[in-house]
Structure formats: structure tokens, C-alpha cells
């Protein structure tokens, strides 16, 4: 029982850190998206803002476009990785929600508590079986 509990604690901690990492990666992707130069695309060309073109500083269209591309690529990689990681991490909840949705569609609305009580009932049965098994074992040892 002890080692199992220890494994559970470690597993939970790992799961928590992976979840945090996924959310952070997802948020970083959004942050990069927000920070990237927002060049409008019109008729297959990047539109340089008139304010920029009328300014005193020299503009380098190839660098501006290149930076925009790099940042968008980074942003999409981070966001998609984060989203996929979250989907994988919370797959039980997602699948549960989906299957509950489909079962509700077929059987009508089912109460979450009723599912939980069914689950509890199953656990109780297993526990009872184990207890009975242990008792039998003890009796056999005493007889011997």
C-alpha cells in the first residue's frame, strides 16, 4: 500500500508539472502572437503601415517580413504544442465529457452523481471480495 501511494504522489506531482508546462507553452504561444509585428496582408503582399513609411528611420521590408514569419512560426508551434499537450493531459475529462454527451443523447440525461454511485458500488464490491478472500486465507492458516 505504501509504495503504491508514493508512486501515486509522484505521478500526481509529475502530472501537475506537465499540466503547468502545457499551459505555460500555450500562453507563451499567445504572447509571441501578440508581440509579433501585426502586418496586414492585402492582395498577397504585406502592407507596411503608412506611419512607418513616412517616418525618418529607414525601413527594411525583408527584415520586417522575415521577423513576422519567424514569430508566427514560433507562435504556432508553441500554441499547437500546448493545446495538444493539454488535450492529451486532460483526455480523460474530455473523453468523459464526450462519452457522457453521447450517452445522454442515446439514453437521455444521466446524473453525474448516479455514475459516481455506480462506480462507488463497484469499488465496494471489489473491497468486499478482497476482505472475504483475506478472511478465508486467515482461516486456512489457522487450520494448518
Amino acid at each position: 500500500m505504501g509504495p503504491n501511494r508514493l508512486i501515486n504522489v509522484h505521478g500526481n506531482r509529475r502530472r501537475r508539472s506537465v499540466a503547468l508546462l502545457c499551459w505555460l507553452v500555450f500562453a507563451a504561444g499567445l504572447l509571441v502572437q501578440l508581440l509579433s509585428p501585426h502586418l496586414k496582408v492585402s492582395n498577397g503582399a504585406f502592407v507596411i503601415a503608412p506611419k512607418m513609411a513616412a517616418g525618418q528611420n529607414a525601413i527594411r521590408p525583408d527584415e520586417i517580413v522575415g521577423r513576422q514569419r519567424r514569430m508566427q512560426l514560433l507562435s504556432v508551434l508553441l500554441t499547437v504544442s500546448g493545446a495538444l499537450g493539454l488535450a492529451f493531459l486532460y483526455r480523460d475529462i474530455l473523453i468523459g465529457a464526450a462519452s457522457r454527451g453521447s450517452s445522454e443523447a442515446v439514453d437521455g440525461p444521466t446524473c453525474r452523481d448516479s455514475m459516481r454511485s455506480q462506480h462507488l458500488g463497484a469499488t465496494r464490491k471489489t473491497l468486499q471480495k478482497r476482505t472475504t478472500h483475506r478472511k478465508t486465507n486467515t482461516k486456512e492458516t489457522q487450520t494448518k
Binding site: R16, S42, A45, I48, I59, L73, V80
Partner: protein, 160 residues
């Protein structure tokens, strides 16, 4: 985090679906935006509106590759269009080399290999008052040469 996980687990079904939808929509928006940016060709569209004698900001074309510079004037009664293929040679031997066609009327070949500021490259309007010039050995600019109160508008596209 544990609290968060437990809270997520305790979410109602619409809550979970809403959260999934939000993440999915945000991800789709990011993917769509990135796809558009990545698939757009290397072209920059620059609008100008110049008072008499005014210059636009200096533009540095991409180096060591041909850059198509095409521009037009959309000023009423002074419309025109011109284009050049341009090569920006980087330092140490900085220079701009080009060949192209001036705006009508009298559309003629324009060509040059210049490493200093102020050299005419191509006219963009009918009256030959708006042109692209070298701003330095590495940059170009749009210049309104007219001396009266005639503000010119138009745009220049660079493709590289």
C-alpha cells in the same frame, strides 16, 4: 495546481466543453494567422502621400537578390506607373544597380549602377514629378520633386 485540476474535474460538462472550445478557437486563430503569414509571398506594399519637396522614409531593399520595385501615382490628373528590377549590393562595395521602364509619356529604359544619394531611378507619375531615388548607397526613397502645393499619393510594391 492540484486545486485547479480538481476544479477542472468538478467542472460541469458545459464548462469543460466551453473551455475546450475556447482553447480550440484560439489555436485555430493562431494557426490561420500563421498560415496566412507564411504562405504570403515576399512582397511589401508601401503607400505614400508626399507634400511638395517631401521624401518618404528610406527603404533598404533585400541584398544580393533581384528586387522588383513597381510603383504608381494615383494622384488625380497625374496618374502613372513605372518599374525597375533592382540589385542591392551590400558593403563593402555598397551600390544599387537597376534597369527598368519610366512612366508614360516618353517611357524609356532607366538604368544605373550608383553608390551615392540623390540619383534618379524611375518616375512614377505622368508629369514626371514623383520618382524613386537613391537615398544612400544602400537605400532608396520616394521623392516629390514638384515645387508647387501639389501633394502626390500612390504606392510602391517591392517583390523579392
Amino acid at each position: 495546481m492540484k486545486a485547479l485540476t480538481m476544479r477542472i474535474q468538478k467542472f460541469s460538462r458545459p464548462g469543460v466543453i466551453l473551455m475546450v472550445a475556447v482553447v480550440a478557437i484560439i489555436t485555430s486563430m493562431v494557426v490561420a494567422n500563421a498560415t496566412q503569414t507564411i504562405t504570403t509571398p515576399n512582397a511589401a506594399f508601401i503607400s505614400y502621400s508626399l507634400a511638395p519637396g517631401a521624401n518618404s522614409a528610406a527603404i533598404t531593399p533585400a541584398t544580393n537578390r533581384s528586387v522588383l520595385v513597381m510603383g504608381c501615382s494615383t494622384t488625380i490628373h497625374d496618374q502613372g506607373v513605372g518599374q525597375v528590377s533592382l540589385l542591392h549590393i551590400p558593403s563593402p562595395s555598397s551600390a544599387i544597380e537597376w534597369v527598368g521602364l519610366e512612366s508614360t509619356p516618353g517611357a524609356a529604359i532607366t538604368q544605373g549602377f550608383i553608390g551615392y544619394a540623390g540619383a534618379h531611378i524611375v518616375y512614377l507619375d505622368y508629369d514626371h514629378r514623383v520618382d524613386i531615388e537613391t537615398a544612400s548607397a544602400d537605400t532608396i526613397l520616394i521623392h516629390n520633386t514638384s515645387s508647387n502645393t501639389f501633394t502626390v499619393v500612390g504606392n510602391v510594391t517591392l517583390i523579392w
